[in-house]
Every structure is written in C-alpha cells, then in structure tokens.
C-alpha cells in the first residue's frame, strides 16, 4: 500500500461534497439529465462548451463542472490509450462474467452463488414471475405514442386481468 501523501486531498471531488449527488446517485434527475446531455454531445463530436451549459443550467453549473473535470480526464485517457469510449447512454451492452469482488458482494447479499459460472438465482428452466401491473402501478406511459402490436402487447389492464387469472407465485 502506498504511503499517505504529504498533500492533503481531503476535499477532492472524489469525496462527496455537501451538495454532491454522489450520496444519492439517482436522486437529482435534472443533474443526471444535464450531465447526460453534455456527455452525449461530447461523444457525438460536438465538444460542448461547459460555459454554455453553465449559463443554460445555472443551478447545476458547479456540479456539472465537477463532473466534467473527471469525465474529460477519462476521455483524455481513452484517447491516449486508444480505448473505445463507453456508450453515452443506457443502450444495451454485452454481458460478461462477474468479477471476484462482485461475486463476493452477491454472496454477502444473497448467500453463496454456487458454481463458478452460476448465472443467476433463478432457474433458467421456467420464467420467473414478475409482478403484474395490478400489483405494482406502472409509472411510465408515453402519452398515446404507443406503437405496440398484437404479438407483443403493451402492459395494461388486459395483462393485469391475465395475471390475476394465473395467480401469484412471488417469493
């Protein structure tokens, strides 16, 4: 382990500050949206100006600046190392085997994971039972933008009724 350095970094951005969203990562929707827009623009090659974002979203200017310094440092490393940038948004990514540390955490949360490559806690032979819409209110609707078809129906009252017919088997 390295020696503790002489320079005091106790206020470094890696430590949550008073208004730091890191203590509740999903809690500030506006900041998440703004940082997402900034990164999306950057990854699209637009090299967005922080000053423009700060002027447009003044309430989040400091938090965005804090975020951007780390992001730009990583982006510079990506470029220097020739590493592909991660996707900007939440698009699907390939699944990979879990690391030892991740598996340790899962063992702590759920008990032993069993064999080395055990993929999950639910048997793959039968589909697990997700809650029906009637049991849990769906928070999202697209406001009439549905383009669903008959073969892959959207969640709705009909699904709830069907779920009721099948009964519940959660647990």
């Amino acid at each position: 382990m390295s020696e503790r350095p002489g320079m005091d970094h106790s206020g470094d951005a890696d430590e949550p500050m008073a208004d730091d969203p890191a203590s509740n990562p999903g809690g500030d929707l506006e900041l998440l949206a703004i940082t997402n827009a900034y990164i999306a623009a950057y990854r699209a090659g637009q090299r967005p100006r922080l000053s423009d974002f700060a002027a447009r979203y003044p309430a989040h200017a400091v938090a965005l600046a804090d975020f951007a310094t780390r992001f730009l440092a990583d982006a510079a490393l990506d470029e220097a190392e020739g590493e592909a940038e991660p996707p900007a948004g939440d698009e699907p990514a390939s699944a990979r085997p879990l690391s030892a540390g991740t598996r340790r955490a899962l063992d702590a949360l759920f008990g032993s994971m069993g064999s080395e490559n055990a993929p999950a806690y639910v048997g793959d032979s039968a589909p697990a039972r997700l809650p029906s819409v009637a049991e849990t209110p769906a928070p999202y609707t697209s406001g009439g933008q549905s383009d669903t078809n008959d073969e892959r129906p959207a969640r709705g009252a009909g699904d709830a009724a069907a779920d009721d017919d099948r009964g519940t088997e959660s647990g």
Binding site: D12, S23, A33, I34, P92, F110, V133, P139, R155, S170
Partner: protein, 279 residues
C-alpha cells in the same frame, strides 16, 4: 407527471430533458412482452446487445419485482444488470486504482476487487433497497447514476484504504510542473483597473492546458469554494473567456470573475507551497 414526482419545474430546459427521457423509456417498455412470459425473460436475460433491453429498462424491472416482494426475480435481474455493466465497472476500477495508488495489473487486483465489491453492495442498496429515493434516476439515466455511484464508492473506499486521489506514482512530478504553470498563468491576470479592451485581450490569450494536463490538478482545484472552482474550471478546462465566464455565473462582471480567479490563485498557491514545504 415528472414534475409531480420529482419537484421539477415544468417547462425548464432541464425538465424537458427529463420529460424526453421518460418518453424514451416508456416507448421501450411498451415494446416489451407481458410480464412473466418467456419472451420477456428471454430479453431480460439476453447477453448480446442486439437482443437486450436498455440498462434503464432493466433497472425498472428490478424495482418492479422488488416492490412486489419478488426478491427472487429482483436478484436474478440484478445479477443480469451486473453482467451487463461488467465492462464499465472493470474500466472504472482499473482507472481508479491506477490513478490513486499507482498500482497496475496484478499488483492492484485486490484493491480493484474491493472496489467492485463495494460498488455492487451500493448498487443493490440504491436501486432496490432505497426504492423511491432516487430510484427513478437509475431508470432514466442509468449510466450517469452509475457514474456518481462509482465516484462515491471510489472516494470513500480509497480514503478508507489510506489512498488519496491524485497520488499515483509519477503524479507528483507532473503536479510540480503544472501547478506552477497554472499559478503563473493566473498571475498574468490583468489589474482590476486595466482598460477593458486590454483586459479582454489578455484574458483571452491566457495559457490553455489540455484535459490530460489538468487531470492531476483536479485534486487541488476541487478544494476551492464553489464559485472559484467553477471559474477556474471554465477558464482552464473549458477555455472560456472572462466574458463567457461572467455570463455562465449568471451575469456577474468580468471584474468579479478576475477576483474569483485571484482568490483561487492565492488558495492554490498556499496549498501548493504548504505541500511542497512538507515534502
């Protein structure tokens, strides 16, 4: 709908971004097969991006399952989520350990795995256990929420291990070169009473540092008070002029901007010299 749940002020630019994210997720969810059908689970379990749902949609399903008390389904989906973020988290752990400890390869493996373990525990806590306290952010902006969670875990764990950010091997040499350069640049700020045309000319010709050069300076700059920090970041990371900074700060004068920069310079110099004196 977003305003009612999050306290957002409807119609603001930020609220509009959130509204668009809601619509995007809703559109994706509407394409999914009904709950508890093999078709849906095939997609939730898909390992290839072409067949998989987005990370936000997966987080949505995890939260729904947990809210309904179906821990078994929530656990499986959580594992699927971890598998899908494995590459992102490996990259983050490698960067964090290299940056803060100077350990690479096998030498840093234990610390990297400790980070991964802690991050996994935190993700479960945030996405599943604390449902309703920020959970929606994981559905709408999963990767950004993950960014912040990673940052929090890195700061807490590395400090607990006795490491401080920005202390990787070789970093001190860079700092010794770049901090004086930054301070010299700040020292070249024009006097408050200089003619405005001269001020703008000087300010806009100030030294620029690349993001890579500035990476190590973050550790010092982020200790500054908020307005000074923002001013320095806009000046050196963004290359903004004083006029642009003044506008970004809500319409302050360029004189105020220079004052912020001067105060920042004094603080940075003090911290740097104190650190140099203590070796």
């Amino acid at each position: 709908m977003a305003g009612a749940r999050t306290g957002l002020e409807a119609g603001t630019p930020a609220a509009e971004l959130v509204r668009l994210a809601h619509a995007r997720l809703a559109a994706e969810l509407e394409t999914l097969a009904p709950w508890d059908t093999p078709l849906l689970w095939a997609r939730l379990r898909a390992r290839a991006p072409q067949q998989a749902v987005s990370l936000g949609a997966l987080a949505h399903c995890i939260r729904l399952a947990a809210r309904a008390g179906d821990q078994r389904a929530a656990r499986e989906l959580f594992v699927r989520l971890l598998e899908r973020t494995e590459a992102l988290n490996a990259r983050w752990a490698r960067r964090t350990v290299a940056r803060t400890t100077g350990l690479f390869g096998a030498a840093g493996e234990q610390v990297r795995e400790d980070l991964r373990q802690e991050l996994t525990l935190r993700l479960w806590e945030h996405i599943v256990v604390h449902d309703g306290e920020g959970g929606e952010g994981w559905e709408l902006f999963f990767q950004r929420a993950l960014d912040y969670a990673q940052r929090h875990v890195a700061g807490a764990l590395m400090r607990q291990h006795g490491y401080w950010p920005g202390t990787a091997a070789g970093a001190s040499g860079e700092r010794a070169r770049l901090v004086p350069a930054l301070l010299a640049s700040l020292d070249r700020l024009p006097d408050e009473d200089a003619p405005i045309t001269e001020v703008d000319a000087l300010a806009d010709s100030a030294d620029q540092f690349s993001a890579a050069d500035l990476a190590d300076l973050r550790a010092l700059v982020t200790r500054l008070p908020a307005h000074e920090r923002l001013t320095v970041v806009l000046r050196y990371w963004d290359g903004a002029s004083e006029a642009e900074i003044a506008r970004a700060l809500g319409g302050v004068t360029t004189r105020t901007v220079r004052n912020y920069l001067r105060r920042a310079c004094a603080r940075l110099r003090g911290w740097y010299e104190a650190a140099e004196a203590t070796g």
